[in-house]
């Protein structure tokens, strides 16, 4: 299993998914020309990670649920990215938690003055059923 480390730019976020260091983060600005294509490796990585972690830690015979944190620290994301992020959070909930007992909580960062970003997180949390932690920066 490989670490996913994607360097972003003005329109695409930095993505770091590192199972060795337990770092899971998406940071920056998200309005890539093709969000689905940009985030596709993220979906693939999580699907592989769930299997990897589940087998490695032999979670099949236990009721124990592992909790991990995905950091979402976006200055801005466009409406199409919102759709992709929603799909990602649903994957974490439906596949990660319900199938593999890996509970990803979302650490949702927002600027103290940016109530729109805070509201967007709350709306996502309501729709996805994933636990969000709101962190003012």
């Amino acid at each position: 299993m490989q670490v996913l480390n994607t360097k972003g730019d003005d329109i695409s976020p930095d993505i770091k998914l590192d199972h060795l260091e337990n770092i899971f983060s998406i940071t920056g600005e998200s309005r890539p020309e093709n969000p689905l294509k940009y985030y596709q490796p993220v979906f693939a990585w999580f699907n592989e990670y769930f299997n990897y972690y589940y087998v490695l830690n032999d979670l099949s015979d236990t009721d124990f649920i592992v909790t991990k944190h995905l950091k979402i620290d976006l200055d801005y994301f466009n409406s199409t990215s919102a759709k992709v992020l929603f799909d990602l959070f649903m994957l974490l909930n439906n596949t990660g938690l319900k199938k593999f007992k890996i509970n990803f909580e979302i650490d949702w960062y927002y600027h103290a003055e940016d109530m729109d970003m805070l509201d967007a997180g709350k709306e996502m949390e309501r729709m996805c059923g994933v636990t969000f932690n709101y962190i003012e920066k």
């Binding site: 801005y76 466009n78 409406s79 199409t80 919102a82 992709v84 003055e113 940016d114 709306e123």
Partner: protein, 180 residues
């Protein structure tokens, strides 16, 4: 030229662009606007709302570029960002064909007839739709744009064998912390 300059001065235009629009131009428009807002010491939330509105609006223009590749440079649009009486005002004009006019008109008629609360619900429904396709997400950008702005007005004018599509909206600079 004088009358054009006077028009810009009198309307307190912060930024205007006329020409071909693609993602490279969009990035530059957003950078220049961000710089203006930083110089004006604008609040974070107003700056972000304007950033979002311009992004969604111009992405919509890019999406509707129906010109063939060899004529892409002829697909000229106009973006004007000005400031008046406590509002940032965004106006754009681009060329659409008859089919696009029909779709845009139908979408905007629907979207602008809804309250902000209704738009929130509609946005949630589009985002949580299981499908990911142009059809499934159609109108999401426009819903978001209208949701976060005020006084959205739009119209069409015949232009050669096509139409000029104008959309106009405002971002309030004083109700900084209103929840959307």
């Amino acid at each position: 030229m004088w009358s054009f300059s006077e028009l810009l001065y009198k309307n307190n235009v912060l930024f205007s662009y006329y020409g071909f629009i693609d993602h490279t131009i969009l990035n530059e428009v957003l950078k220049v606007t961000k710089h203006h807002l930083t110089v004006e010491n604008e609040s974070v939330i107003v700056s972000k709302r304007l950033h979002n509105a311009i992004n969604e609006c111009v992405e919509n223009i890019i999406k509707h570029n129906f010109f063939p590749k060899e004529q892409m440079a002829d697909y000229k649009s106009l973006i004007v960002i000005s400031k008046e009486d406590g509002f940032y005002v965004v106006d754009t004009i681009n060329v659409v064909n008859a089919h696009q006019k029909e779709i845009i008109n139908k979408q905007l008629n629907f979207i602008t007839s809804k309250s902000k609360d209704e738009l929130k619900v509609i946005k949630g429904e589009i985002i949580s739709n299981n499908q990911y396709s142009e059809a499934a997400t159609a109108g999401l950008g426009m819903v978001d744009m209208v949701l976060r702005t005020d006084d959205c007005i739009y119209g069409f004018k015949s232009y050669q064998s096509n139409f000029l599509f104008n959309i106009h909206f405002k971002i309030n600079t004083t109700v900084s912390y209103a929840s959307t």
